[in-house]
């Protein structure tokens, strides 16, 4: 009973804040609601025995990506946009499409049955050597190549950002 109550709290807060994120007029308010959302998602990760990802969620998402968004919003002068309407002309169509999407996804996904071919990483196995060590072992052996490719993607992102945002000097 208690885990379900905890999950219900987190689910309600996550859905509520994500609705607030997409409806606020001021983008800074959106980003700050996003912060609340990320903290609750991190708590949900803790609930699922993924301590490393909870820490990463706070550090990378809340600490880096949201601060980047805030920097860009404050860099741009958005006075005029805040005066105008916040939704596009065709917003009823977009909401309708999203609602159809929600209904179908919930109808299908609420009935999924996962075939219980369980892997070796039970909660006891993870807790015996710690979540971080388990993730690290798999990441640096089995998933070494994707990990290296991720570093290349980050390098490309750095170079791309510098090239795109650099002011042209004539």
């Amino acid at each position: 009973m208690l885990p379900k109550l905890f999950f219900a709290y987190f689910a309600v807060v996550i859905v509520g804040t994500s609705i607030l994120v997409i409806t606020r007029k001021n983008p800074i308010h959106s980003v700050l609601w996003m912060l609340v959302l990320f903290v609750h998602i991190a708590a949900l990760y803790l609930f699922l025995n993924a301590e490393f990802l909870a820490a990463i969620q706070i550090i990378i998402y809340a600490g880096a990506i949201l601060v980047l968004f805030l920097f860009v919003i404050m860099l741009l002068n958005l006075k005029r946009e805040e005066m105008e309407k916040r939704f596009q002309k065709q917003w009823p169509l977009g909401v309708f499409a999203g609602m159809v999407f929600i209904v179908f996804l919930v109808l299908i996904l609420s009935q999924i049955v996962v075939f219980p071919q369980l892997g070796p990483y039970s909660i006891q196995a993870i807790q015996s050597e710690g979540n971080l060590m388990t993730v690290g072992k798999v990441l640096y052996t089995e998933y070494l190549l994707p990990f290296e490719i991720t570093s290349v993607i980050l390098l490309v992102a750095i170079i791309g950002a510098v090239v795109l945002a650099k002011r042209k000097v004539n």
């Binding site: 990506i65 968004f69 996904l109």
Partner: protein
């Protein structure tokens, strides 16, 4: 014990809210934030599957998704700044240089 389908339904609902935000908002920054929302909802479902199937691969996948999300946000916001320099607006209705 919370059933797995609850997590998946939560993830689907948050994903759909992200889709609605991306389709309806005029502000390009909010559209980017909606993309982050969608990536996060997928992360929730991956971690839930990882927990319930007792496999660590879902968590590795989330780690990679977070790295790609960071790269996407950086490049997207750099494009936004470059766009804003040429035409001072973040309204997606007015950004129509390609006549799409």
């Amino acid at each position: 014990m919370v059933p797995l389908s609850w997590y998946i339904v939560l993830s689907a609902v948050v994903f759909s809210i992200g889709v609605i935000g991306f389709l309806t908002r005029r502000n390009l920054i909010i559209a980017f934030i909606s993309i982050e929302l969608m990536l996060n909802s997928v992360n929730i479902s991956l971690v839930a599957f990882s927990h319930y199937l007792q496999s660590i691969k879902g968590q590795i996948m989330v780690f990679l998704v977070i790295a790609v999300a960071a790269a996407e946000a950086v490049v997207g916001l750099a494009i936004l700044i470059a766009l804003f320099r040429n035409k001072p607006t973040v309204n997606v209705d007015e950004i129509n240089l390609l006549k799409g």
